[in-house]
């Protein structure tokens, strides 16, 4: 059971393009949290990953908005991917 949970714990940067998912957890200092929350990503929010390549920020579509989040910080956002 523990293991299954661990597999679920995928970071945003590890997710495939054009997949849908839900934010599970966000880690980071309060400044980062405040920025990312106020732009619309919170645990529980459903999103579609539009673009994920190593050389540019991750692009997600969430709450009617296309949001760009830089790579390093995206790896602090953990997601559940819809199959």
């Amino acid at each position: 059971m523990k293991n299954a949970e661990f597999v679920d714990r995928l970071s945003l940067t590890e997710m495939g393009e054009n997949r849908c998912g839900t934010v599970a957890q966000i880690e980071g200092d309060s400044r980062f949290i405040s920025r990312i929350v106020s732009i619309g990503l919170t645990p529980g929010s459903a999103f579609t990953l539009l673009k994920n390549d190593k050389r540019s920020p991750v692009l997600v579509f969430c709450r009617d908005t296309v949001i760009a989040v830089n790579h390093k910080e995206s790896s602090q956002i953990f997601v559940k991917v819809e199959s």
């Binding site: 949290i33 709450r63 296309v66 760009a68």
Partner: protein, 682 residues
């Protein structure tokens, strides 16, 4: 006496506050389709039904927690409680996200009205919104609106008047429920909110209700934490600290953020359809945001824009240049016929006619630049641009968001200097300031393009391309020199930004803005150029007909051995120095010094040969010298105004001096290189 009512415009970045403000007050705040333009609060007025309304345009902020300087301005204003009505603007085409501001406003005891702006964009994207349902749910006035469409303003006035007459605040009850319940995620808050509220007792702070203070305490908001620490008695303070500490491991900011979005979702789900995803990320966007193609596209757009500027400027330049010989010979003939002194004729021709003609030439470039870049900005391409360059900029120590103040430097360097406030850390701001000085303002582009077309004719577009490339190269150099020190690796914060949907350009608004700016710049430039031209005319006017005897020429000839080292004869060098004062001054100086032939009477022959400044320049200055001067002008320091603003924003004279020294060295160094390469090829 009629009373004055104050209306504050609050909303997330890019929700249309300044567009609204401009249309209400007739003022001209900066607008454009990218987040973070307004960084200072602006005030204006309008009169409706014999009442004067004062309108406050606030910098955009995602919520009421301030993370960067311009957001502090907004937050401070709201907390001052000065407004009679707060108009919260949200972008209807991105309803769910932009309503977060409203959720963060719950618990602020001030009368509000919600304006769902950009209804036209939302409708075009296939989004349906039931305004009445939202109004019913919130219990405050709600208006579906389009700030860009003037026909819709009467609806706003009606709603606004009644909102001021019977003021209503948002009720915090429903949000409180969300905060307490913990939501579907099952992450029980064990009612931490109520515990903090209980510990706060009857403490309130200005317009902020207890629930709002409790939220901000959980979010570790610096200001509120400070206020509470200062004003609560010791025991209660400790109680609060204990509650907050017991939350170790769970982030309060996430807890409240989630609750606020849950509150928003409930409103939105019942009253609006979501935007369809096909509309969101087009094929074009895939290219624009690609890490290689996107950069090529951006580079291509820059170059095409510059070339478009030259083409658009062509007619104006023809008029300016064409007028000069005609007018000058007219003045000459009329003057001689009336027996006017040669000194007067010389003054009229060299200062007034010459200055006006060159101002017309320059303004035609300015017009083209403003027009082309205005369209780029309004469409919404800027945000893609900054996205495509994010990885590159983060290697330099900045982040993609910095592109936008940098890019707006093309409008005016001084304005863009303030625009750097959207960056989060001071180091990044200073680095952005350094890079910004390399971005030519409209006047500088005009001077450079003007010189390039004069000296190199049809090869001028090459200079456009070369210039863009050189600017990028200078970025690299600057970050090498300043980056490490200003933005240490561990202080680098990356990009978190929304890409706004594309907008159709509003041609009427664009035309009005371009016309107004061009006219304003023309007037300013004319004044400056005439003043400088008059000054230099006086300095170089020789009563005895021998210009070599004037003090200016003596000094000029004395310094020439040094200035020629950089490939600039003294006249050009003086123009270069004038360019530090203002770009227009540079042209003013050239226009007199090169039209000055020495003997006042030779004017007749020159006018007969229908020589204008362009021809005079091209015939006296060799190509290598022109190249040197072009390079020097490209990287010359910006005008005095921009230097003053840089000093203010950087907050230290040392920084201003450092940046100045750097650009002086850079421009003169390039001039030197350009001159010597020019000697080899021409």
């Amino acid at each position: 006496m009629s009373e004055i009512k104050t209306i504050a415009l609050l909303g997330q970045p890019n929700s249309g506050k300044s567009t609204f403000f401009n249309n209400l007050t007739g003022l001209h705040q900066r607008v454009g389709n990218w987040p973070g333009k307004t960084v200072e609060q602006a005030e204006g007025e309008f009169v409706f039904d014999e009442t004067t309304y004062k309108v406050i345009d606030l910098p955009g902020s995602y919520g009421l927690s301030a993370n960067s300087e311009e957001e502090v301005v907004t937050r401070d204003y709201i907390q001052s409680g000065k407004a009679d009505l707060v108009c919260i603007l949200v972008d209807a085409s991105q309803l769910e996200r932009s309503l977060y501001m409203l959720a963060d406003f719950v618990g602020i005891r001030m009368p509000v009205m919600l304006v769902l702006n950009m209804m036209d964009v939302a409708e075009a994207a296939g989004k349906k919104i039931d305004v009445a349902a939202i109004e019913k749910r919130l219990g405050v006035p709600v208006l579906g609106f389009s700030a860009a469409e003037t026909e819709r303003y009467p609806e706003f006035f009606k709603k606004m008047v009644s909102a001021i007459k019977t003021p209503v605040c948002l009720d915090s009850g429903s949000l409180r429920e969300e905060l307490v319940s913990g939501g579907e995620l099952g992450e029980k808050t064990d009612d931490i909110i109520s515990r903090i509220e209980a510990a706060l007792g009857d403490f309130e702070y200005g317009v902020c209700e207890r629930i709002w203070i409790a939220e901000k305490l959980l979010e570790k908001d610096k200001l509120i934490c400070g206020v509470v620490r200062e004003s609560l008695p010791f025991a209660r303070k400790n109680a609060i600290d204990a509650i907050l500490d017991s939350e170790e491991g769970r982030d309060g900011g996430i807890l409240t953020g989630e609750a606020k979005y849950r509150w928003v979702s409930k409103i939105v789900r019942e009253s609006a359809t979501p935007k369809s995803i096909e509309n969101v990320f087009s094929k074009w966007d895939r290219i624009a945001t690609h890490h290689i193609k996107g950069k090529f596209l951006a580079f291509g757009i820059m170059v095409v824009s510059l070339i478009a500027c030259m083409i658009l400027a062509f007619p104006g330049m023809g008029i300016g240049f064409g007028m000069q010989p005609v007018l000058q010979s007219l003045v000459e003939r009329a003057g001689n016929a009336l027996g006017v002194w040669p000194v007067v004729i010389s003054f009229i021709n060299l200062v007034l006619v010459g200055g006006t003609c060159i101002t017309i030439c320059m303004t035609s470039f300015i017009f083209a630049i403003i027009f082309v870049f205005r369209i780029l900005e309004e469409i919404g391409y800027m945000a893609r641009f900054s996205y495509a360059f994010d990885n590159w900029l983060s290697r330099l120590g900045l982040q993609g968001k910095a592109i936008m103040p940098l890019f707006s430097g093309i409008g005016c360097t001084a304005g863009a200097v303030c625009g750097t406030r959207v960056l989060d850390t001071r180091g990044q701001r200073l680095l952005a300031l350094v890079l910004l000085w390399a971005i030519p303002c409209g006047s500088k582009v005009a001077v450079v393009l003007f010189l390039a077309s004069t000296f190199f004719g049809s090869a001028a577009p090459l200079f456009g391309i070369g210039y863009v490339a050189l600017i990028f190269a200078s970025f690299y150099l600057s970050s090498r020199l300043f980056g490490k020190k200003l933005v240490p690796q561990n202080e680098r914060v990356g990009m978190i930004m929304e890409l706004p949907p594309y907008h159709k350009p509003h041609w009427k608004m664009i035309a009005a803005m371009v016309g107004r700016s061009t006219w304003g710049i023309f007037k300013k430039a004319l004044k400056m150029i005439l003043m400088v031209a008059a000054l230099f005319w006086a300095l170089s006017y020789a009563g005895d007909g021998n210009v070599e005897n004037t003090l200016l020429y003596k000094i000029g000839n004395a310094i020439e051995p040094v200035t020629m080292f950089f490939g600039m004869r003294w006249e050009l060098f003086v123009s270069y120095l004038g360019g530090m004062f203002s770009k227009e001054a540079s042209l003013g100086i050239m226009s007199t010094l090169f039209n000055h032939t020495g003997e006042a009477f030779s004017l007749v022959t020159r006018v007969a040969a229908s020589e204008n400044l362009g021809e005079a320049l091209a015939s006296t200055i060799s190509k290598p010298e022109a190249l040197a001067f072009l390079f020097a002008s490209m990287f010359n320091v910006p005008c005095v105004l921009a230097m003053g603003t840089t000093y203010r924003e950087a907050g230290s004279f040392k920084w201003l001096a450092t940046i100045m020294g750097y650009y002086l060295a850079l421009s003169l160094g390039l001039a030197f290189i350009g001159y010597h390469i020019g000697l080899l090829i021409f």
